[in-house]
């Protein structure tokens, strides 16, 4: 699959010599205010952090894999080796403006606790995750009768880090349960393009390949 051109109005973000960024990364970057302090949990090889740094954002990262961490540090990024499930507890309240969990929620042991920690450490959280309600997933289970595998989630059921899949609908429900305010929600199609904004939730839950949510603590004016 070739990387798609950014379809969002994000002029000035992509430096001309660094190639293309992932659609969901561009969307996340657009949600972050310039000059803010960001923690990227599960930052992989630091692609998103590098994108954020081009916008003058003070980015930090946590990554589980040693190889990923060392590649990040070798890029000059402030990344530490750590586990979202166990290490977020070491961060103080309100340490960051945004905490980002990009395509990692489904790989955590306790997604709810992780989500609560994100919004304790950060004033806002940005969470993106693969939507298990995506029509291709449903079709594979319904017609094929096997655990779904897609281009973006190619792992077999017995060899996957993803242990807590959810649908967009499930996630929205969890946000309600733990009193989290959804400031913005976007569903992306298979190519990382946002679905049309006025679509109903069931449409997103069916045709969104992934969901990207900007969250804040409910009940507090910020």
């Amino acid at each position: 699959m070739t990387m798609q051109q950014p379809v969002l109005p994000l002029t000035g973000i992509v430096p001309p010599d660094t190639g293309h960024y992932r659609g969901d990364h561009l969307l996340v970057a657009q949600m972050v205010e310039r000059g803010s302090k960001v923690l990227d949990v599960g930052c992989g090889e630091g692609d998103l952090l590098q994108l954020l740094e081009t916008r003058g954002i003070d980015g930090r990262g946590i990554e589980l894999s040693r190889e990923g961490v060392n590649r990040c540090v070798a890029k000059g990024l402030a990344v530490v080796q750590g586990d979202a499930d166990t290490d977020l507890i070491n961060y103080p309240d309100d340490a960051f403006d945004y905490v980002i969990l990009s395509q990692t929620l489904q790989a955590t042991r306790q997604p709810r606790v992780v989500l609560e920690n994100l919004l304790r450490i950060g004033r806002r959280a940005i969470v993106s995750f693969p939507n298990f309600g995506f029509w291709k997933m449903r079709l594979q289970l319904l017609i094929g009768g096997h655990m779904p595998r897609t281009e973006n989630l190619p792992a077999t059921w017995y060899d996957t880090p993803n242990i807590h899949f959810c649908t967009i609908k499930d996630f929205v429900q969890l946000c309600g349960e733990i009193n989290v305010k959804m400031e913005r929600a976007v569903a992306l199609d298979l190519y990382g393009r946002p679905l049309r904004l006025n679509a109903p939730w069931w449409f997103w839950n069916m045709f969104g390949e992934q969901g990207v949510f900007l969250l804040s603590r409910a009940g507090k004016a910020r």
Binding site: A74, K75, G76, L77, A78, V79, Q81
Partner: protein, 402 residues
């Protein structure tokens, strides 16, 4: 009788070591009675001197200075031929033109620590009050004392802020102490294979080394220089034991296994039949040629006392509260002297202080010594960290990244 071999007498004699301690082959900063070094033990050390080496050029706005802190048995000769042994500097892989600590770009300073034996005041130096060598009359020094002395040298050199403070092992302890004691004077810190406190196991190993020195009849309660001796056997044993802790089981197995030294069959004696024995004996005997036994006692003690959290009500994060320094912490998988768990505790404390920190654990079987060896991943990380910090510091990026 069964053949016995012990550590041979050193080729370099006490006189030569003593001369280097007072009149080092290095730059020298003298601090007179008006500028005592206030030691943690309560004593004002005065007069005292600091021997140091520099590499590269200090830029016009004095913003490119890097202080390299040496480890327990290191010295200021980080990237030049050692004046006593004739061997290359101990960190030439790291410091030099085009190296991660690029002398074409940064001004590198390395001081011999207070308590050392290569020209900074220590037990091997002459006590000007008595005209005799200090020996055990020298006051007990700490890691914070070493750093305080370095800060006085930087004042003397007119360097207000270090671009970076870099060190491994005891050098890493100094780097961390710098950030805790002088956070505003340190723009970035690279702390390698170290800890914010010396563990019980490490204190135990140091005690073993000290007891080995003191058990040597040539030690003479620390006044061996007056007897024309040097406790080379005791110090050699101390070094052999310590050297094992710098390696790893895997590295020893890979390098030596059970291979014999220049023979096919055991000699049924206490001769060095095994390669690993021969190697350790060599390590012991080459060390005693260049190092003062009393200095070894003092420096190991300084490491034992080190505990940054203890100075901050036992809460490590308090030590780094509000610190603006950019940190890079590096550990090695097979280092059991300063294991990754120690670095991780530091990183957690730095996270709790919202400090900007990178932390990489590098996979290697070479143990604690890995920080001194050719480990490309470590160099890449160090280089990138310094380049990124240099960008933030506004240093000229005149050399394209390699």
């Amino acid at each position: 009788m069964v053949n016995v071999q012990s550590i041979p007498s050193p080729a370099i004699h006490t006189d030569e070591r003593s001369h280097e301690a007072d009149h080092p082959s290095s730059l020298l900063a003298l601090f007179g009675a008006d500028q005592p070094l206030k030691l943690d033990c309560g004593i004002d050390l005065s007069p005292f001197q600091i021997a140091y080496q520099t590499y590269g050029e200090l830029n016009a706005d004095r913003s490119n200075a890097i202080l390299v802190c040496h480890a327990l048995t290191g010295d200021q000769h980080v990237a030049n031929v050692h004046p006593m042994t004739g061997k290359p500097g101990w960190w030439e892989t790291m410091v030099g033109p085009g190296r991660p600590l690029d002398t074409d770009r940064y001004f590198i300073i390395c001081t011999n620590v207070i308590g050392g034996c290569m020209g900074s005041t220590g037990p091997a130096s002459t006590n000007s009050a008595s005209g005799k060598l200090w020996g055990l009359d020298f006051p007990i020094i700490t890691i914070p004392d070493m750093v305080r002395a370095q800060a006085m040298l930087l004042d003397r050199l007119g360097i207000d802020t270090l671009f970076c403070v870099v060190g491994g092992s005891m050098g890493g302890m100094q780097a961390l102490q710098w950030t805790a004691a002088y956070p505003k004077r340190v723009f970035s810190a690279l702390a390698v294979a170290c800890s914010t406190r010396h563990s019980a196991q490490n204190i135990a190993f140091h005690e073993l080394g000290r007891q080995a020195v003191m058990a040597d009849p040539d030690w003479h309660n620390g006044r061996y220089f007056e007897q024309g001796t040097h406790p080379h056997r005791g110090l050699g044993v101390a070094r052999m034991a310590a050297h094992i802790t710098y390696l790893s089981d895997a590295a020893l197995h890979r390098k030596f296994g059970r291979r014999m030294q220049d023979r096919d069959l055991p000699t049924f004696s206490f001769d060095a039949d095994f390669q690993v024995e021969s190697y350790l004996r060599y390590q012991g005997s080459s060390f005693v040629e260049r190092f003062d036994a009393n200095s070894y006692l003092y420096l190991t003690r300084a490491m034992d006392y080190f505990d940054i959290a203890a100075d901050h009500h036992g809460v490590l994060a308090q030590a780094f509260r509000g610190v603006q320094t950019r940190f890079c912490v590096v550990s090695f998988t097979s280092d059991w002297l300063f294991p990754t768990s120690e670095s991780r505790a530091l990183v957690h404390a730095l996270n709790a202080s919202s400090a900007r920190v990178s932390f990489a654990e590098i996979e290697t079987d070479r143990g604690h010594d890995a920080f001194l060896l050719d480990v490309p991943e470590f160099f890449d990380i160090s280089r990138a960290f310094l380049q990124s910090a240099g960008k933030a510091r506004g240093l000229k990026q005149d050399r394209p990244p390699t």
